[in-house]
């Protein structure tokens, strides 16, 4: 068992399908997460194209209203829980051990389970679309009393949420244990790359928020099938209770989606500015402040539900506070670029677009934090535009930045820069054509989650649908770029970019199957 033969055997890369099924290697698991995320991204994206196709013209053309509602719901669930969260966990798996000089994740078998909980959960959600009554059609927020009704699709959705929650909790535990326990000697907390910091904070958010969602959907399940009255006023309950609990989870959740993105951007911008990150310490504290604030602002999602005035005011002011740490981050990125030797390779293009577009999403968020104004914007296309400016332009574009940034490290080959630039321009132009008009639609009063609309909204909807087609099909370019880089291309050096900072660049590209068997010294 302890012979060199066994040691040698362990260093070989396992072959065949069981490599992926049984793996305990952080790089393999990271790859699995990233591919799963990409498949879910395409599935969820296809659903959004169904939505946009129906909305191309007023009236009902493509799908019936019930199916339309299922599409809006499942699109959101898949994108949030299937694409963005697993995507960033994939980055965490690949990068955190290499960034902190660890041999692997702290709990490798648990790591395998965290991933392999995802496909069964996704399968349950997909099954729900094909059972009598169809999938969930309530919007991803799953508000009762609508979700107390409905067929077995809702039960499948509830169990999907449970299993995805288990995956997230186990993954977060692993990430926390890895970061706190596996750092190389000399890698103090305040020397950690910002991506590691943001993930540490995100993992705490997940641990605090996900069990709350699990509890909320459990109460839905018992209200549906076991006669409880948590959300039924006839039995002394209150449907608004669900909204409070859901958003106590939901607001941290959106920061779970965005904080790792901030981490990626904070790695990419210094590299292509050829300057160290401006205000590292303030970045760390700003991330922690955002995380803290996320737990005391939830009811800004429900200003119109009927709350005491003191509640409305508290949540309004607390929400406005978030602009301060977020502003710190934006200005730090700008200061990092200020007078840097900037070059605009694809990762940097995506990073800069995130800084611009996410700022827009943040500012529309500030508008909606104002309670009396939000009564007008609530449940209109304005919130759809705001949300996609933060989560697509914030999280997803950051993931693209991260993919182009680290793809040469992962595969050992440079990606196709021309195709990368095509991907960037088509995505960003398509995105703005899709979502910018939705601000106007929302301000003019077009409600969201409705398959039909009044005639005066037609032009903006048509522009939006055209943009979504461009944006949607542009994602196939990413697939081509990634497959090309895996199959071959110009060899990438260990450093890949010009003097990038971080331990991952001290490893060859691609890194060996096991890295940092002996911990590096960090000075």
């Amino acid at each position: 068992m302890t012979t060199t033969v066994a040691d040698h055997h362990h260093d070989e890369v396992p072959k065949g399908i069981t490599r992926w099924l049984f793996t305990t290697n952080h790089k393999d698991i990271g790859t699995l997460y990233l591919w799963f995320s990409f498949i879910m991204f395409l599935v969820g994206g296809a659903m959004s194209l169904v939505i946009r196709a129906e909305l191309f013209q007023p009236g009902l053309q493509v799908v019936d209203p019930h199916f339309f509602n299922q599409m809006t719901t499942v699109h959101a669930l898949i994108m949030v829980f299937g694409a963005v969260m697993p995507g960033f966990v994939g980055f965490a798996n690949w990068m955190i051990p290499m960034m902190i000089g660890a041999p692997d994740m702290a709990l490798p078998r648990l790591n395998n389970w965290s991933f392999w909980l995802l496909p069964p959960a996704a399968l349950l959600l997909v099954i729900s679309l094909f059972v009598p009554g169809g999938g969930p059609a309530s919007g991803w927020t799953l508000y009762p009393p609508l979700t107390i009704q409905g067929g077995m699709g809702m039960d499948f959705t509830i169990f999907t949420v449970h299993i995805l929650g288990m995956s997230s909790i186990l993954g977060s535990i692993n990430i926390i244990a890895t970061i706190l326990n596996m750092r190389a000697p000399g890698m103090t907390l305040m020397k950690m790359p910002l991506f590691v910091w943001t993930w540490l904070i995100t993992a705490f958010l997940l641990l605090a928020a996900i069990p709350v969602l699990a509890g909320a959907v459990t109460m839905l399940l018992t209200d549906r099938h076991f006669g409880t009255a948590f959300f039924d006023p006839a039995g002394g309950g209150d449907p608004a209770l669900f909204q409070h609990i859901f958003w106590f989870f939901g607001h941290p959740e959106v920061y779970i989606l965005i904080l790792p993105a901030f981490g990626v951007i904070s790695q990419v911008i210094p590299t292509f500015s050829r300057k160290p990150l401006f205000g590292y310490t303030s970045m760390v504290f700003a991330s922690a402040a955002i995380a803290f604030l996320s737990f005391i602002v939830w009811a800004h999602h429900m200003y119109t539900v009927g709350m005491p005035l003191s509640g409305e005011l508290f949540f309004m002011y607390a929400t406005m506070l978030i602009a301060i740490p977020t502003g710190v981050k934006i200005f730090n990125w700008l200061a990092t670029m200020w007078r840097g030797s900037l070059t605009f390779e694809t990762p940097m293009l995506f990073a800069v677009s995130v800084v611009c577009l996410f700022t827009m999403g943040g500012l529309t968020g500030l508008m909606m934090s104002i309670t009396p104004a939000d009564f007008q914007y609530h449940d209109t296309y304005y919130i759809v535009a705001h949300f996609h400016y933060t989560i697509f332009a914030g999280s997803v574009l950051s993931m693209f930045a991260g993919i182009y940034y680290w793809l040469p490290k992962w595969t050992g080959h440079m990606y196709d820069e021309t195709l990368g630039k095509w991907h960037f321009w088509l995505t960003v132009i398509g995105f703005n054509v899709t979502f910018f008009p939705q601000h106007f639609l929302g301000l003019a009063g077009m409600p969201r989650r409705i398959p039909d609309y009044a005639l005066q909204f037609t032009e903006f909807n048509q522009i939006s649908t055209i943009g979504s087609l461009v944006m949607g099909f542009a994602q196939l370019i990413l697939l081509v770029v990634v497959v090309k880089a895996i199959r071959g291309g110009k060899k990438a050096s260990a450093e890949v970019w010009e003097n990038p900072e971080g331990l991952e660049w001290s490893l060859p590209s691609p890194p060996p199957y096991h890295t940092f068997a002996t911990a590096p010294e960090v000075r």
Binding site: A6, H10, D11, P14, L21, F22, T24, A102, P103, D104, A106, L107, R109, L110, W113, W116, L117, P120, L123, L124, I127, M152, D155, F156, I163, I169, I173, N174, I176, A177, T178, L180, L207, A208, A209, I210, P211, V212, A214, A216, M219, T222, H225, G227, T228, A229, F230, P233, A234, G235, G236, G237, D238, H244, I245, F248, H514, F516, A517, T518
Partner: protein, 292 residues
């Protein structure tokens, strides 16, 4: 079989997680079908649960074997400690939801429901309540409930006994821990056995209370928001006690087989942490569900 990499134990590829996930899938699928009275539901649930139980047995068994083989150094031990500690934190948040629901209902939504005369004329905010359309509450421990009435379990009968049982079991598990640290194996086995017995006694009493509630007090899951919060809080707690008793039993068996060393016994400590957590939740339940 695996190689040491710089000292930190990296396990070989493993099939248990993947198979556990399949079991979980079957369990969820079967449960959903069962909820809608479809035929293969219960069978799928049984199959899924059996897979999960067998795989957890194999998985934990493998970890115990590795531990006894001395493969885990201090750093691995720290990983386990952090893992267990943060897992318990997530459990705290899970119970916080139901406590939060209880507080929200009692302090805010029931008074609001009574305050709006337009909604439910004549409804008065009391606690316990089954809501404006639910059964009428007639005081605790009333065994002569008629139809349309319900009662509740008084705090200072069996719940007080349960409190004593659980609090003393927290003491006995600590005494067992001291014995383990002093390598007094006989005392360790004895006090750990006492802990398991106390936990099992709690489960027995709690099951009796549930039968009492359903058969005589008219208190069910359907007893409005009082019944809902009562049963979801005590029910999930009871489930956690059950898991804790099973865990402690496994640890007891391992102790009897001579596992654990005075200075290296995280398996024992993890189970003890979990047990103290379950105990603490009960104290919260006793105060906020039974007494107040």
């Amino acid at each position: 079989m695996s190689a040491a990499h710089g000292g930190y134990y990296l396990p070989d590829p493993t099939k248990w997680p993947m198979i556990t996930s399949m079991g979980l899938f079957l369990l969820a699928l079967g449960f959903t079908l069962h909820l809608h009275h479809l035929a293969p539901g219960p069978w799928l649930m049984v199959a899924g649960a059996a897979i999960i139980v067998l795989m957890l047995y194999a998985w934990f068994g493998q970890v115990a074997t590795e531990s006894e083989a001395g493969k885990f150094d201090g750093q691995v031990d720290t990983s386990f400690r952090m893992g267990m500690g943060w897992f318990i934190f997530s459990e705290v948040m899970f119970f916080a939801v139901f406590f939060g629901a209880l507080f929200y209902t009692r302090i805010l939504s029931v008074p609001w429901l009574a305050g709006e005369e337009m909604l439910w004329p004549g409804f008065e905010a009391t606690w316990p309540t089954a809501g404006p359309a639910g059964a009428t509450y007639i005081g605790p421990d009333a065994h002569d409930v008629g139809s349309g009435q319900f009662s509740s379990i008084g705090a200072f009968g069996v719940p007080l006994l349960n409190t004593v049982l659980l609090l003393s079991s927290s003491v006995t598990v600590t005494v067992a821990h001291w014995a383990l640290k002093k390598n007094q194996r006989g005392r360790l086995n004895f006090w750990l056995f006492v802990t398991v017995v106390l936990g099992a006694a709690f489960m027995y009493c709690q099951a009796g209370e549930y039968m009492e509630a359903y058969n005589h007090l008219g208190l069910t899951l359907g007893s409005g928001v009082y019944g809902a919060t009562f049963f979801i809080l005590t029910g999930f707690h009871g489930f956690h006690v059950t898991v804790g008793v099973i865990t402690l039993t496994v640890i007891l068996v391992r102790c009897l087989r001579g596992h654990f060393k005075p200075d290296e016994h995280f398996g024992f400590e993890g189970a003890a942490w979990y047990w103290h957590f379950v105990d603490t939740v009960w104290v919260g339940l006793f105060i906020f569900v039974y007494i107040l």
